[in-house]
Symmetry: C2
Subunit: 266 residues, 2 copies
């Protein structure tokens, strides 16, 4: 039982909630709430913290999961006071259970088995947008997500929550140069890389995505850099009616990947 | 020049930023920033407040717009101190220009001229989601948005910002009963109303949306109520791969309305 908010471990965990650097150094991140805990692959679980109130109320399959964790060699289970939970958690009203989870390591090969469908994200800044792209991407059958190193951290608690568990299932990679990596995907792996772009000559639904494909999506405010757009095999246009000048980044990703999914079903 | 944050008008405007009730009583809402000000139909503008710094830096077409406002009979232009602007604005870093805008009144007829494509939203709570549905909806050619009266207020400053101006162009209505209104749309106006639902037997892309159509979208956490889903002409399924159980509400709306737009183009 940890009851002091001054406890070194508690302080470290509060740091994980706030700082990408601390998470990166220790190769971990935070998962909050029973719903997200259910999604964590068991071998990635390291520490689970629970409140008394949570333990008194957990039942059914969730009870079984907690029992399994308490008996496992790989993960620890420890009770903490409400105050300690509040200190560790990122949310205003913590849900009584919080886990420290090992960061997964993926490789490009993880993304290219089968018929690749990739998202290449450049400088996405909004955590909700990023998390949503994981969630939507998984639903559309995306086989991997490539991200620029200047982006929102995928292990930010708000991103983790918004993925609804997809963070554990969709392989992802950070790369230093989106243009270089895009060219590599095309030249070495035969993947057609499409940039959603207002200068696209073809509508996005006039292209065949049954072959290995990737979609380049740019920053919320500025779109893709010229260098990244130039590295694409082709520009595609999402035609917009009214006076709309652009789509939200996650919305563009949804429209494109679900068009690919539609074609691949038919 | 208003320099006192205790000024009655300033206090009233701060109330508009925070309270739906105050906005409703006076039939107005707040628009912040020059980018959004450009989108406001001139006849809806009532009061525009600017800081000294803004006036010293505004140029080009924006300067012309401000000059036009200062000369107009319908709208007032007044300078305020930075402190007063901060007090009135909803944002942490106000952009130096803020307008009080009259709420628009739409009717169902505004939505049904031409080939109707409607969104029927039930109990959407997230302002960003709601704003995004206006923006995406306009891009897809949505002719109107019907909302349940228990939803996020469309005039909430965060919703207004997220619409990127679509709030001025997409007709919308609040209704007391979504099930009743849905039946009315179908029975009296011949509009097919589709509920995005996990029990859908047909995939969403197997349906003909070239005829007048509407999509029912439910609350972020709970989906559609049984009553609303029952009122639909048909359930449609957005097939999801992986372990994804549901899509974000705005994402579902984007996938459905852009499929309708795709069919209507072809």
């Amino acid at each position: 039982m940890i009851s002091s908010t001054g406890n070194a471990r508690v302080k470290k965990i509060a740091e994980y909630a706030k700082k990408a650097k601390a998470r990166k150094e220790d190769g971990v991140f935070i998962v909050e709430g029973i719903r997200m805990l259910r999604e964590v692959p068991f071998d990635l679980l390291r520490e689970v913290y629970v409140t008394k109130h949570f333990m008194e109320n957990v039942s059914g399959d969730d009870r079984k999961l907690i029992d399994e964790i308490s008996k496992s060699d790989g993960a620890t289970l420890e009770e903490v006071t409400d105050d300690v939970m509040k200190k560790m958690a990122d949310t205003q009203t913590p849900q009584g259970v919080l886990a420290i989870v090992r960061q997964n390591r993926w490789t490009l090969e993880d993304m290219l088995s089968g018929n690749a469908l990739l998202l290449i994200l450049e400088n996405i800044q909004d955590p909700g947008n990023l998390g949503n792209m994981f969630r939507t991407g998984e639903g559309a059958g995306v086989t991997g997500i490539i991200m620029s190193s200047d982006m929102a951290d995928v292990y930010n608690p708000k991103v983790v929550r918004s993925t609804m568990g997809a963070i554990f299932r969709v392989p992802f990679l950070y790369v230093d140069s989106i243009p270089e990596f895009t060219r590599k995907l095309h030249n070495e792996h035969g993947i057609n890389c499409y940039a959603a772009h207002l200068k696209g000559k073809k509508n996005y639904d006039e292209i065949d995505y049954k072959k290995p494909s990737a979609f380049l999506i740019g920053n919320e405010g500025n779109g893709l850099t010229k260098e990244a757009a130039d590295a694409a095999s082709e520009y595609v246009l999402i035609p917009m009616l009214g006076k709309v000048e652009s789509m939200n980044a996650a919305t563009s990703a949804a429209i494109l990947t679900f068009e690919a999914a539609r074609q691949r079903r038919n």
